[in-house]
């Protein structure tokens, strides 16, 4: 099962930025190695913004366009500490993707990021297995609180 050509890799390698801090899992008190994140969103704007947010914090990250690509990338053997999951996406939405990932035994922190305000949708997302939910837009402060929770989880 190959990875769709629509997926693009955006490594957190902006070494020219003096403000870039490597977000090492070891500095979070967990096992050694960098924190790796997966951004799952069909919106180009949010892909760019979430990638840049993670990049600026030195978090290596990949971006995919829908839930199926998120599942496929895990089937290929890649692992992530953090998955930022949107809800409404073509091919496979975030709720179904979360369910499939949990069924596969994926224990990454999955944070739902969406514009949905309907309670029943949020509840369905939580029931599918996300660890927490944030309404868009995702800010640096929200992301830092998520990353700190990964620290405490480790």
């Amino acid at each position: 099962m190959g990875i769709d050509a629509g997926m693009w890799k955006l490594a957190g390698s902006s070494s020219s930025s003096s403000t870039c801090r490597r977000f090492h899992a070891s500095s979070l008190g967990g096992s050694s190695g960098e924190v790796k994140a997966l951004v799952v969103d069909d919106s180009r704007i949010n892909q760019m913004l979430h990638h840049k947010l993670l990049d600026n914090l030195g978090v290596e990250n990949l971006v995919v366009c829908n839930g199926k690509e998120a599942v496929d990338i895990h089937v290929s053997g890649k692992q992530f500490d953090l998955i930022l999951m949107d809800i409404d996406m073509p091919v496979m939405n975030g709720i179904e993707a979360t369910r499939k990932l949990r069924d596969m035994g994926i224990r990454s922190v999955i944070t739902g990021i969406s514009s949905h305000t309907l309670d029943h949708v949020k509840q369905e997302f939580i029931a599918a297995g996300i660890d927490e939910y944030h309404e868009k837009p995702l800010t640096s402060a929200k992301l830092l609180s998520i990353l700190n929770k990964i620290k405490h989880k480790d």
Partner: protein, 146 residues
């Protein structure tokens, strides 16, 4: 420097008007030193994607049987991108259309859609001005380096 000041004042006026909020500053702060086109690209992508979604919404709302689930999906996309770029008034208009579509109320959906379109065109117009000013600043800075 004068153009930078003018751009800053323009953005502040848009915030006072309620068109943009502090999220815009947050987006701008993400711009890396080695990628001066970042903000311009964000604005471009926002406008291109929103143009498409607004058009799709018009099509869906004009169907004999309206697919409200599709309306909600498109509105969520618009709300997400507009709030992510700091377009708070447009995000509020998206919320109103979303609420009308939850209730399956076509009349209110159409009114909310018209309001959303107005807010989007207004925001797009302002962002295009920002876009032009940013590009001029970039161009001037590149000329200075040479």
């Amino acid at each position: 420097m004068a153009l930078r000041t003018r751009l800053h004042n323009y953005i502040e006026s848009l915030k006072e008007e309620g068109v943009l909020d502090s999220q815009y500053d947050h987006v701008k702060s993400l711009q890396p030193d080695d990628d001066p086109c970042f903000l311009v690209d964000i604005i471009n992508n926002f406008c291109n994607d929103a143009d498409h979604s607004i058009g799709e919404l018009a099509n869906v709302l004009s169907e004999p049987i309206v697919d409200y689930a599709k309306v909600m999906t498109l509105v969520c996309l618009l709300k997400g991108s507009s709030s992510s770029i700091g377009g708070c008034r447009m995000a509020v208009a998206c919320r109103q259309l979303h609420d009308a579509s939850v209730n399956g109320d076509l009349a209110n959906c159409c009114m909310a859609y018209d309001k959303l379109v107005n807010e989007y065109y207004y925001l797009r117009d302002k962002l295009k001005t920002v876009h032009q000013m940013e590009r001029t600043i970039m161009h001037n800075e590149e000329r200075k380096k040479k």
